[in-house]
Amino acid sequence: MSSCVTICPIGSVDEGILEHIAKCISIRCGLNCRISMRMENPRYAYNDTRYQYNSKLILKHLLQKSPPDTLRLVGVTSVDLYVPILQFVFGLAQIEGQCSIISLHRLWPEYYDQPSDRDLLLARVEKTALHELGHTFGMTHCRDRRCVMYSSVRIEDTDLKQPDFCPTCFELFQWYLNKSPQQSPY
């Protein structure tokens, strides 16, 4: 039975970041991770009025390309994501679904005129990836500010929370994981 999470770069993404996400998911969630082949830059999702990419369209595309033997798929992109009603999103997930996507665009310290800090970037990436992965298992937002499932509407929210589930969310995550239909490998 497979319990493998696929990390999928979309467009150009630093290899070290992908490896960091894989390592964190493996440690925090006890799930095996693999990094898949890179997908093309998602031009189909580009909105030339907003200069951003529609995350919902990318998710749909990811779902079609998701390998059949993967438990979950986390897409990672450098482009700026949005959903039509919001100005931006850090990431998007299908609740109780297969796929999620995160954007590095607004996680870079430089975006906020902060000095370059790779550790800070990696910490933000880790939290965002875990958060979106949690949603794919059916988890909703937590009220504990330090829990990784706390809703991040500003980068400060992301910085404040810990890169881990609170005890309740962790237990709930395990419960969802056990209920989640596992897929057979090839």
Binding site: V83, P84, I85, L86, Q87, L92, R143, S151, P167, W175
Partner: protein, 450 residues
Amino acid sequence: MTKKARILVVDDEAPMREALYDWLKEDGYEVGLAESGKDAIAIATEKSWDVILLDLKMPGMDGLETLKQLKGKQVDTDAEILMMTAYATVDTAVQAMKEGAFDYLVKPFAPDEIEMQIKKIVAHRELVLENILLRQKLEERSEYDEIIGKSDAMQEIYDLISQVAPTDSTVLITGESGTGKELIAQAIHGNSQRCYMPFIAVSCGALPDSLLESELFGYERGAFTGAEHTKKGRFEMADKGTLFLDEIGDISLKTQVDLLRVLQRKEFRRLGGQEEIKVDVRILAATNQDLKKAISENKFREDLFYRLNVISIPVPPLRKRKDDVPLLVKAFIRRYCLEMNKELVKISSSALNLLMDYDWPGNVRELENVIERALVIGRGKEIVMEDLPFSRKQLGPETMPNSLKLMEKMHIKRILEETDWNISKTARLLEIDRQTLYNKIAKYKIEKES
């Protein structure tokens, strides 16, 4: 399963509706979608909502007209309405606020902007709800102080209560709404060694998930927006005493995890807290739901069910213990006459027969309401059929006993009561002589009710 805030999204553009749907779902809200003003009105008439996100610019009925109708007499929604608009229509949005909209948001929203607006509305509504619940609680406490019933079914429950009360076991009380599950929990607590310590009741189904979490476990200052002080939860308040969790079948999976942890480890953390707080609390839970079915549907955790269901007390519905109806009626008449400062009234046998024949879907609580209503609207010295909210015609013909003797007894008793025990008049109506009537009264041991 939990009562989550309900949000209705009204927008003619599918991508906008879908994006809001996804965003709000991540926050755990129950979300409804409407693609036109007309749809919104139909949906809001059918179901109640906490927040309605309403687009201003829609073909056909626009947002402003929809708002007027939603707030008008026909729908009269108590939901707070947040208008959504593009830059060009801010003036109209301001006009909408004059028409009763809560606020407006300019599309596309900043994520923190919409989150803040919705949280503000939900927190306000939670506060109002909490206030109502607290008032209800205060009223209920003065109303109930004992379980009434002498039927076999209730005797079995009394036996169970006296067996389980002195232990510290968790008890799951099951039964339909209005059967008196909380009274049984109070009786267990009152007969236990914890009786001098607090009995804290929480109606889990009435509280939204987020409020239930802070109610049960409390929170530390700064745990979430608005948590300005550290607050103790019901678990801490019930330390050394009993915590009664009513409507346990309605709690979210997340709260189920928290509860399971307290049951297993006898400790918990306040929301946003680091410290494990140890408590000595006896848990009594109640539900009107079929928890085994909820388990099979993945809505209730099996491990929690077995933790709660150490001892089970099923409370029968009133229709299955109709022998108790006269006793309950008497007790409620006494209680409400005293409360209303009214002279003690009686109930006519035809009215009592009608109550006996009724099925009582709302159980004891419904019976209590019926008696209270009859005492308010009734003017005579006894409650008669006309004082009841249902009629013999609605219930169908009176149930007649199979035994001829019993039927004769009931018939004589009814005529005696109708004539106010005037023997000559009764004998005349029954077409028998007075001596025969005396003989039958003696034979059937018919007594005049005081």
